[in-house]
Symmetry: C2
Subunit: 206 residues, 2 copies
């Protein structure tokens, strides 16, 4: 429970920290810190420090300051989630099973990280509502993107587009909520139940 | 989108702000501010200011400071949610319909508050993971309490206890995630879809 944000950023990405450019290190540090401490609780100085960057280079890459950085952090979290979701859904013949396995994979990742390595955008997204329009908009686009991937997989499996779009809302909502509950309760059970019931729900629509 | 936390606290409670004791005003202010800005983004001084209380009286009621206050804020949010959930489930003959209506009620409340008046504990809960054990424990207990209420209603409707306990996880996770998505997207749709699919899921288990 006491890992540094840096070690966590290393765990969750595929590139070792040392090989990353300064901009990427800043974005990763912002992503991890804001996800754990919220937007308001994370200072620019702390981000620079964790990224081994100077304040000067931070403002060079992000002249818009913290809100621009939070938007980039959301985009980074979005790509991370999209990559994982695609790895589960691409070429899956049975999307119900693929989604269930994806949910169990989230549980594995959470448990391995001692329950801190949750959804890369939810804390920042929640804290942005009605206050940080660019950040909120990036988060809304990320959710829409994830729904699009789920819906596409459901359509491929023979579900009508309108129905697949509706189901995709509930798939993403359930995964988000179950990940939150799993983190807070330090337990795999919410994600195990999400896996089971999402598979049932998708199967009932095929 | 620019309402003050105070006016929002008035909206969401049944007692007018002026009639509340100092302790209650402090807890409500802490609850609303932390939900919007996160634990780290909310200062003790700001809470006292919003509650029309002195720092002296704040520390009188909460000698443990911010973490004790956050725990009380979670407990307050818990009671608020329990009251609303009980109002929907008590005496409901059809829990699938009752849960769907509850989800639509969350959408109404969110839309009326310009999407800021979401789950009263999720932001604070997420920000507590692995860092603020008392706050995290209060949040975990709140989720468990809500699941217990849902499970009880499902058992009354004839679903076996073990199955009802499992479903209750997904009901609460889906409501949480849909509320988050609705807030971020400023849209009722995620909660409308949660209402529809949770009703289908519960019906499939009866």
């Amino acid at each position: 429970m006491k890992e540094s944000p840096r070690s966590n950023a290393e765990q969750s990405g595929s590139t070792p920290e040392s090989a990353l450019g300064t901009r990427d290190r800043i974005v990763r540090a912002a992503s991890v810190l804001m996800q754990r401490q919220g937007y308001d609780g994370t200072g620019i100085k702390q981000i620079a420090q964790e990224a081994d960057a100077t304040l000067g280079s931070l403002y060079h890459f992000f002249p818009g300051g913290k809100q621009e950085l939070a938007t980039a952090a959301i985009d980074h979290g979005n790509r991370e989630f999209v990559e994982a979701l695609n790895a589960s859904l691409d070429g899956a013949e049975d999307p119900a099973r693929a989604l269930a396995e994806f949910a169990l994979g989230l549980a594995d990742r959470l448990a391995e990280s001692d329950w801190v390595d949750g959804c890369p955008i939810s804390t920042t997204a929640l804290g942005s509502v009605g206050r940080l329009p660019d950040v909120q908009s990036a988060a809304a686009q990320a959710f829409a993107h994830w729904r699009g991937l789920v819906s596409g997989a459901l359509v491929k499996a023979g579900i009508a587009r309108a129905e697949a779009d509706e189901l995709a809302h509930t798939v993403i909502s359930t995964l988000e909520g179950a990940e939150l509950a799993a983190q807070v309760s330090a337990s795999r059970v919410p994600l195990e139940m999400a896996a089971k019931h999402l598979a049932q729900l998708v199967d009932a629509h095929r």
